[in-house]
């Protein structure tokens, strides 16, 4: 078990806190543009102008979850507006697709513009396969109505009057689409709009169109033949996952789908006129050309969106945690992040002690049910404590020893060491430092004995959550249960407690210094204060207040559990609006 893995320090925050920071960060449109585009994309030979709006509000909230030890999954509601001015069906010239896109971001570390290390999320290894599009709505279905609309839209651009030689002059064929062409004489009958239906014959889809016509044929005998009628023709519909095509220039070879011309006026010449008119009618239909429109299946639309999202996100990244040094020129160690999925914990490791990036592994969860917890690893604690002890007692631990001379007696301290003990270690509670040592006691007129000693030093933590200047935690060492007043105990306490106080001060300062919090002024005696253990600003967006509650000592090191509150820095227009304090014309 290790709270800090191969690092010295670790900060763990809950998924809930990470989400809060994310939501606040997401509100910053400089970092995370909510309006993307417009940008153009070719769609079946047409140009689509696309705009995207990403959302995070009460009705459609964004979210993030922990996917694996290195990846977060973002859930982002979005609206995609596609404008195709030249869409065959004008009703489809502007559509809005709504969905929630989810995609993976990777915990990564880089240096920001100022050279400060940043732990954040990058999308460098994103690909379309890792993106999902959920609950996609707004995708139009291309059916007979849409094809009919396309035909109606095409009608104005094609000839409506066709001439052909007739026995006694020139025959005229008019094609109507309701009253779309008011120049036609005679005008269209009341039910004159072009109609379209889709039929399936032999497993193939066809568009069957009925177009109202008028013919005027000088037949040379008697009055000219005039009649309203209709041409019914069918054309093949070809669908792909992204398009629908109706080739109006090619008549299918299915007998039941032959072009049929009907003329209302009964006349001996009617049959002849129909026979001669039919090829003309087919030519007229040819004029509609090949009608092609975008027609995405759900799956194809999702795939396209995924590809676009992956492409857009790939160069992007944003910071989650920036240890900021207030000391000019001081470069802090790059933090490394891991996600503990089972416990919904973001773990940030700081100051690698041994190995390289390839040796980095996730730490154990020590946050438990708390919002946040800070840890100092065992090796770091022991290393600092040994250095402080050796400096406090020059000559101890390998030298000639440290002589102390008190009225109670004189002794040369030969070794002193502080180890970490779990709650219950040596039958002592709670977790504590276990101090061991050896001294040569100088007794007059007597050979000097070697005395080995050991005992617990506890660290008492006092929480100050309601200080108007901000919450803080106070730490004070205490040596076991001693009878107050026994002067020899005073000697022990007076020797050990101050040095443990210095040890705590050095360890706590280094922890806060590396994480980027604020160091407190030294206080008298052996008391250590933890005032602002975390950097107050995160990504320049969220203001964080971290209140530590206590210290837990174990053989893994020190843990400081606490709570965290996150709020947006400053006040934005949205804050004012939400609070009902927006500027008004009469009260700017």
């Amino acid at each position: 078990m290790s709270t800090t893995s191969n690092f010295d320090y670790c900060v763990q925050t809950s998924l809930a806190v990470t989400r809060e920071i994310f939501h606040l960060a997401f509100k910053n449109e400089v970092l995370f543009p909510h309006n993307v585009g417009p940008f153009d994309r070719p769609l079946t030979g047409l140009t689509a102008h696309i705009s995207v709006v990403v959302l995070d509000d009460e009705t459609r909230p964004a979210d993030l979850t922990f996917e694996d030890d290195k990846h977060l999954r973002f859930h982002v509601p979005n609206d995609i507006t596609v404008e195709i001015p030249e869409a065959p069906d004008p009703a489809l010239s502007r559509i809005t697709l709504s969905s929630t896109a989810t995609f993976l971001g990777r915990l990564d570390t880089w240096d920001d513009d100022a050279g400060e290390p940043v732990l954040g999320v990058s999308f460098a290894d994103i690909d379309a396969a890792g993106v999902t599009v959920e609950n996609l709505t707004g995708l139009p279905t291309i059916g007979a109505d849409q094809l009919a609309n396309a035909i109606h839209a095409k009608y104005p651009s094609i000839p409506h009057s066709y001439n052909a030689p007739a026995p006694a002059g020139v025959a005229t064929l008019l094609i109507y689409d309701g009253t779309n062409d008011t120049t036609l004489v005679p005008p269209a009958p009341s039910a004159g709009s072009i109609t379209a239906t889709l039929v399936t014959v032999g497993g193939h889809e066809y568009l069957t169109v009925k177009v109202h016509i008028h013919v005027h044929v000088p037949i040379g005998v008697g009055p000219d033949y005039e009649s309203f009628g209709a041409v019914t023709f069918s054309r093949t519909v070809t669908r792909t996952v992204t398009t629908i095509t109706v080739d109006m220039t090619t008549e299918p070879s299915v007998p039941t789908l032959e072009t049929v011309v009907e003329l209302d006026t009964v006349h001996p010449a009617r049959a002849m006129v129909i026979a001669q008119l039919t090829p003309k009618a087919v030519s007229a239909v040819d004029a509609f050309g090949v009608l092609t429109a975008p027609a995405y299946t759900q799956s194809a639309a999702e795939t396209t969106i995924k590809v676009e999202i992956a492409s857009y996100l790939k160069p992007l990244r944003f910071g989650l945690f920036t240890p900021r040094s207030n000391e000019p020129g001081v470069v802090l160690t790059s933090p490394v992040g891991f996600l503990l999925v089972d416990t919904e914990t973001l773990a940030v490791l700081i100051t690698r002690r041994h190995g390289g990036p390839a040796d980095d592994v996730a730490p154990d969860d020590f946050r438990g049910a708390k919002d946040v917890a800070l840890a100092v690893g065992r090796d770091c604690v022991i290393e600092k404590s040994d250095k402080i002890i050796n400096d406090r007692f020059p000559g101890v631990n390998g030298g000639d020893g440290y002589l102390f001379d008190r009225p109670e007696g004189k002794a040369t301290l030969k070794t002193v060491h502080a180890a970490l003990e779990n709650d219950g270690g040596h039958d002592k509670n709670p977790g504590h430092l276990w101090v061991t040592g050896e001294a040569e006691v100088h007794i007059d007129c007597w050979p000097d004995p070697d005395v080995s000693f050991s005992g617990p030093v506890f660290i008492d933590a006092t929480e100050h959550p309601d200080d108007p200047d901000g919450c803080w935690l106070e730490l004070q060492p205490r040596a076991g249960k001693f009878d107050v007043g026994q002067s020899c105990c005073d000697v022990l306490i007076d020797l050990l407690i101050p040095v443990v106080g210095w040890i705590m001060l050095a360890i706590v300062e280094s922890l806060i210094d590396e994480i980027g919090g604020q160091i407190a002024d030294e206080t008298a005696g052996a008391v250590t204060q933890m005032l602002q253990p975390l950097p107050k600003l995160v990504i320049g967006i969220a203001e964080v207040e971290c209140c530590l509650e206590t210290i837990v000592i174990s053989d893994q090191g020190f843990i400081f559990p606490g709570s965290m509150s996150v709020r947006r820095e400053g006040r934005s227009f949205q804050d004012l609006h939400d609070a009902g304090s927006s500027p008004r014309p009469d009260s700017p």
Binding site: E327, G409, H442, K481, F482, S487, I497, V527, Q529
Partner: protein, 290 residues
């Protein structure tokens, strides 16, 4: 093989008739090794030396006369230098006050100061005594190198918890005293700590305070009941609880003759030869006919 710890197999002396009897300081010194051998025969008994040396000796089969027992207890409780200083101060104060000083007696202190020496009582409540730092100033400077640089921006410290009262021997007897107002009433008892505020009030206050500090600064001798508790492995709430073992390295118990170096041996031989040569020359002169 430095600090070799020797355990001797020696039967426990249970019978007082065969116990080692020590009734003089000379015998005490002469029998040191045997006494220690008996003490450390049981490895758990070593720490009992600091609990109550006299009882520890007795349990080891060493019978001390009352005077030697008293001597042993005092030797363990306080250093010789402190004991000597106590005797000096006691003599000085007895001569000055005409009575044996009892500075650990708070009522005696008050009576001596306010009645005998006619020192005016002061309002000491709410004032802080000055103590010497627990960590020497030069060591503090070294320890501070482990902290963040002093140039690093820091937040102002908040109110601190009450630090444990330092031991009395750290009272700074040379510190500047606060100016205190006279009290309206004379206290009937005075603590050692409050006596500090009167250092400038009378020339005898300093020796009384020093003696009081020395009397307080002794290794406690546990009662028989407490001693038995330690023997049974029970905690006493004292310093004894921290002692794991007490051993006497053989080199200190029985220091060996220091081997002479080659150069020293040669020098010694040369000197011896020179003396012999001188003696021969002297003899030759004496034999010369006149």
């Amino acid at each position: 093989m430095a600090d070799e710890k020797i355990k001797f197999s020696r039967p426990q002396v249970a019978d007082t008739s065969t116990a080692l009897k020590i009734d003089s300081h000379r015998l005490l010194l002469a029998k040191r090794s045997a006494i220690i051998d008996a003490l450390v025969e049981d490895p758990d008994r070593g720490k009992l030396l600091f609990a109550n040396a006299a009882l520890a000796f007795k349990d080891s089969g060493v019978q001390l006369s009352p005077a030697i027992s008293n001597h042993v207890l005092h030797t363990v409780r306080q250093s010789a230098a402190a004991t000597t200083r106590r005797e000096q101060l006691t003599t000085q104060l007895r001569d000055a006050l005409g009575v044996v000083p009892k500075p650990s007696d708070t009522e005696w202190l008050a009576k001596t100061l306010f009645t005998k020496l006619k020192v005016a009582p002061l309002v000491t409540r709410g004032h802080q005594r000055v103590y010497q730092p627990a960590v020497p100033v030069d060591i503090q400077a070294k320890l501070r190198t482990h902290l963040a640089p002093s140039t690093r921006p820091r937040l102002a410290a908040r109110g601190t918890a009450a630090a444990p009262t330092p031991p009395p021997w750290r009272l700074d007897l040379d510190a500047k005293l606060p100016k205190l107002n006279e009290a309206r009433s004379t206290p009937k008892a005075l603590t050692l700590e409050d006596l500090w505020f009167y250092l400038d009030s009378h020339e005898l206050v300093r020796p009384i305070l020093e003696l009081a500090i020395l009397e307080r600064s002794v290794m406690p001798t546990l009662t028989r009941e407490q001693y038995d508790a330690v023997k049974a492995g029970k905690p006493t709430g004292g310093f004894i609880d921290w002692i794991d073992s007490v051993t006497f390295p053989d080199e200190r118990l029985r220091p060996a003759r220091k081997p002479t170096s080659d150069a020293a041996a040669v020098k010694k031989a040369v000197a011896k030869k020179a003396v012999a040569k001188k003696a021969v020359a002297k003899k030759a002169v004496a034999k010369k006919p006149r």
